[in-house]
């Protein structure tokens, strides 16, 4: 469905992403994990067109998108939930959700408002409230719901657990799992490797801007050497300490 081939991204003279190739098949949830500063978010921003890639290709169902501006990528159905749950705080939950329809372009909607409310009942409850007055977890749910309003073919998520309490992280990941089971194709960028490997089918490990490992999530989770080497030791539970340097 989504094929990334030898994508490179530069910031000035610094290369943040080096010849990264990865694939997401239809209906799959793929995790992209790695330590802080490994290039995860850069890669995602490169895929969604928020940052221009310098070489390599991004194709969605055979349609090349690497040369397209961010708004065209979104309208093609590759919709990103930006890092830091950027909801539009001056507008209500409902207005935020309706804004998501802008990304539909000429495509037919496959997601409905009702489905999104079923997934996140709290959004239904709080629909008239200003988005800025929601809690962090609710804002993340709103950001995901808003992206869903554009009926994405592939949903790109950038660190959905960032800054959330463990119990809220569970809710968000639970919703992502439900979405995936309902057929949504998801590419998930996460620093919380343990949780990401639990919900995804396959995973790529990125370090220093390169893919250094890939495989089935279940296998990776059970591989102590891999966990030790790339992800900072056999993970007891790093959800509470995820801002620390995972290289240590």
């Amino acid at each position: 469905m989504l094929v990334i081939d030898k994508l490179s991204i530069f910031y000035g003279g610094i290369q943040a992403v080096r010849d990264v190739s990865l694939e997401v098949a239809e209906g799959e949830m793929v995790a992209l994990i790695g330590p802080n500063g490994a290039g995860k978010s850069s890669l995602l921003n490169g895929i969604s067109g928020v940052v221009r890639s310098s070489s390599g290709t991004v194709t969605l169902q055979g349609q090349p998108l690497h040369a397209s501006a961010a708004h065209k990528v979104a309208r093609a159905g590759l919709i990103q939930v930006p890092e830091g749950r950027l909801v539009l705080g001056e507008q209500t939950v409902m207005e935020n959700l309706l804004l998501g329809e802008l990304a539909l372009g000429r495509r037919q909607p496959t997601q409905s408002l009702q489905q999104i409310f079923d997934l996140f009942p709290i959004l239904h409850e709080r629909q008239k409230q200003y988005a800025g007055s929601l809690s962090g977890g609710q804002q993340q749910m709103l950001a995901i719901g808003r992206a869903l309003m554009g009926s994405p073919k592939v949903l790109l998520l950038d660190e959905p657990s960032l800054g959330l309490a463990p119990i809220v992280i569970e809710q968000v990941f639970g919703a992502l799992q439900k979405l995936n089971q309902a057929g949504m194709t998801i590419l998930l960028v996460e620093q919380n490797a343990k949780r990401a490997l639990e919900v995804s089918n396959r995973a790529y490990v990125i370090e220093g801007g390169r893919i250094v490992h890939q495989g089935l999530s279940a296998a990776m989770r059970d591989d102590p050497v891999m966990m030790e080497h790339y992800l900072g030791g056999p993970l007891a539970d790093n959800s509470g300490t995820r801002r620390e340097d995972l290289h240590a």
Binding site: H71, R75, Q91, E95, L99, L102, A147
Partner: protein, 293 residues
């Protein structure tokens, strides 16, 4: 009753003109462009109308059409270099634009009459015309509020990255905002010229720029009622506070500071926060299971 109204007639006209000009400023601010070029655009519209009506004897309709068109074209041209700038740099560039227009009006004496301005402009505009124009602009804004363009404006103003990931094309959307702003400013510049017998360059300088900005900041940048409320307060306040008229700028300044500190979103948008608005498409969207387009 009529005589009572008649006494306030000039004030009502002034209020309508200010409302229109405030809408010109409002539309760019709503779209997230920090442009303060409107005084310049209004000036261009006013001179266009004054020259056409005085020297060529063109009628009301033709004159206003030309003012609107000239404002529109200049604003689009202005928006091209501005698309590369953000925030305060846009404000600086547009401030320079206002100064350039002012200087041109002062030194192109043959065309603009220099510092003396243009006089003996036929008065073709009365309160009904002003009212119709303000209502037309208000209707346009209300219609815009319901379209995807209005939503796109709001998204860009709050966060450009989010707007882009939602499929909003930022550059072209802002060009549309500039074009609308230019057309409205040009139109009301034309109305000012055809309403007040004479215009001079300094009336479209820094004080006008500040008061337009103040009207929108005071009223609110989001709601379409914001510019009207802001213009009303700032037009009527000097009348109510006549004893303070010597210190009018001081009163303006203090009010602006108070508003920015205590009602940073402006009067209307802050009040709107107190009462929950019912989203228009809500029931429809949930009931039919398909989000309406």
């Amino acid at each position: 009753m009529m005589s009572f109204l008649a006494a306030y007639h000039p004030l009502i006209d002034l209020l309508l003109l200010n409302c229109g000009c405030a809408f010109g400023q409002y539309i760019v601010l709503r779209a997230g462009a920090f442009s303060i070029a409107n005084a310049g655009l209004t000036s261009i519209g006013a001179y266009t109308a004054a020259i056409l009506a005085t020297r060529y004897g063109i009628g009301l309709g033709g004159t206003l059409l030309c003012s609107t068109a000239v404002g529109l074209v200049v604003a689009i041209l202005l928006s091209l270099p501005l698309a590369r700038l953000r925030g305060v740099y846009q404000a600086i560039a547009t401030l320079a634009f206002v100064q350039i227009v002012l200087t041109l009006a002062l030194y192109a004496e043959g065309l603009t009459g220099g510092a003396l301005g243009l006089n003996a402009i036929p008065k073709l505009v009365g309160t009904p015309t002003l009212l119709i124009c303000v209502l037309a602009v208000f209707y346009l804004m209300a219609a815009l509020d319901r379209t995807r363009l209005g939503q796109a404006f709001d998204a860009i103003r709050q966060d450009e990255i989010v707007a882009a990931t939602l499929g909003v094309q930022i550059a072209s959307t802002q060009v549309v905002a500039f074009a609308l702003s230019g057309a409205i400013s040009g139109l009301f510049g034309g109305l000012i010229a055809l309403h007040t017998y004479s215009i001079d360059p300094n009336q479209f300088g820094f004080p006008m720029l500040v008061s337009l900005l103040a009207m929108v900041v005071l009223g609110g940048r989001r709601s379409i009622y914001g510019p009207i409320v802001g213009a009303t307060i700032l037009t009527l306040l000097p009348e109510i506070a006549r004893p303070l008229s010597d210190n009018r700028t001081l009163v303006h300044g203090i009010m602006l500071i108070l508003i920015i500190v205590f009602l940073p979103r402006g009067v209307v948008d802050s009040l709107r926060g107190l009462s929950f608005r019912k989203p228009r498409r809500l029931q429809q969207g949930v009931a039919s299971d398909v989000p309406s387009a």
